[in-house]
Symmetry: D2
Subunit: 149 residues, 4 copies
């Protein structure tokens, strides 16, 4: 599977009164990891949203994480993102956060997303469609890309 | 179980370029719901952290959510929080987000938390201990409290 | 001037490793205050954006704040928002944050906003136009509205 | 003056329903710029907070920004941070955000900070002291450091 990695620094802004990384930010980083993965695959999500009036991107239908060790202000973590499973209309992106040479993750998580379209008859209604074969192929390439800014 | 409810307004700041509520904010609201639940129970988390040097509050060890329908700018959602299960050292807080009279939730989620202490010999190490019986009793009262600001 | 007030609770999520409210959140609350003010005035910003393809809302061109005293987790602050000055194409919204009966503000700030339109010939270009007279009148009513959720 | 530069990518999470960068995040980035500047100078802010019980870091007393052009999802901006002025107890950090080869900034801002201490007799009281001469010297070195993660 195509794998995107990005280094992320824990900022003062990310830490809570206990002095440690505030967990909800991990979910933002998973979102960032998925966007970077699609871009690394060569799929232009925003361009597609602009050119196809009904395409709604890849809305999240579920997510989960397990937190193993805390991160502190100034720590740098590596987020590794790849598709773990392609369903009919959904797909699962797995994210792993590690630190330095320690392969034992700091945190791991999954996002369940769908390939979303607005119903032409009722634009407020979301339809989940199969991911196009070509996008699936782009995400299935065996390659690791560093997407750090 | 003690149940805390709070109304939350979806702000411009919470919405993404797709015009809908950006999901990671839900995890922040679950955190808020748990803090409000502890306060409604009469447990002073921050006071306890200040008075007991080794107490680290209730660190999150895992969380998950399912998203059913989008929220839009200006929507008001009701977050309902209660403990769903007490384990030996962990406990699960369940959160449900609804809108208006529709009991079908917009989103649901769980937080798995522990009663955390620093190891006196190695303060960077987190020990999970059993929640004190009295706190468990406070959280088990059959009552619903509106904790909206 | 029309004045919108809202109570806001300082959440765990808002506080930094120094244990105090992290200031950038104030700028988010000013944004919330302005949106609530427009709504209290009876102006439907999002409806207008949806119905007038070129209208871009009220983009921020500058902002500033002074911070007098820290806020802590659990504190409740009152944000009071009103237009302070109408310019030709810009207007200034003043926000004041107080606590309890103490009229001495915790923080004060200003937002400079314009009434924004996309250039029909180049949609990436922002044009600042005069705020419609009727909106100006709506914002000039002498009334205070509690917009707390 | 010592100058810290960091590349920052505009994430989906940073953008609002107008599809553009939500301005309050700039204030978070200025905070990050100041922390990175102190670290680039060789001053260990968090270590100092831990080792000196009364030291409170560099609390913000005021901040302001002007926004010239919008940023969009996927844009990369360069944040350039340096001390602009040393006062008696306060100092001003100036931040400039640019894009690509265009030296015309996207946004500019200032933070006014103090060298903060708790009053030993009343820890809730903040005292502003003069920045130590050696830190001032460290921040005055003529050098530019890339602090991108």
């Amino acid at each position: 599977m195509l794998t995107a990695t990005q280094r992320i620094r824990v900022e003062w802004a990310h830490c809570d009164p206990a002095g440690i990384f505030f967990n909800p930010h991990y979910y933002i980083w998973m979102d960032s990891g998925t966007h970077a993965l699609l871009q690394a695959a060569g799929f232009d999500l925003v361009g597609q949203i602009h050119s196809d009036e009904l395409f709604r991107g890849c809305p999240l239908v579920a997510s989960n994480m397990a937190f193993k060790r805390p991160l502190y202000f100034g720590d740098v973590t590596l987020c590794t993102s790849r598709v773990e499973r392609f369903g009919n209309t959904s797909f699962v992106v797995a994210h792993e956060f590690t630190q330095g040479d320690n392969s034992d993750p700091v945190a791991t998580g999954n996002e369940v997303r769908v390939w979303g379209y607005s119903d032409a008859d009722d634009p407020t209604k979301l339809l989940a469609r199969a991911m196009p074969e070509e996008v699936r192929a782009m995400l299935s390439v065996e390659k690791t890309v560093d997407v750090t800014v």
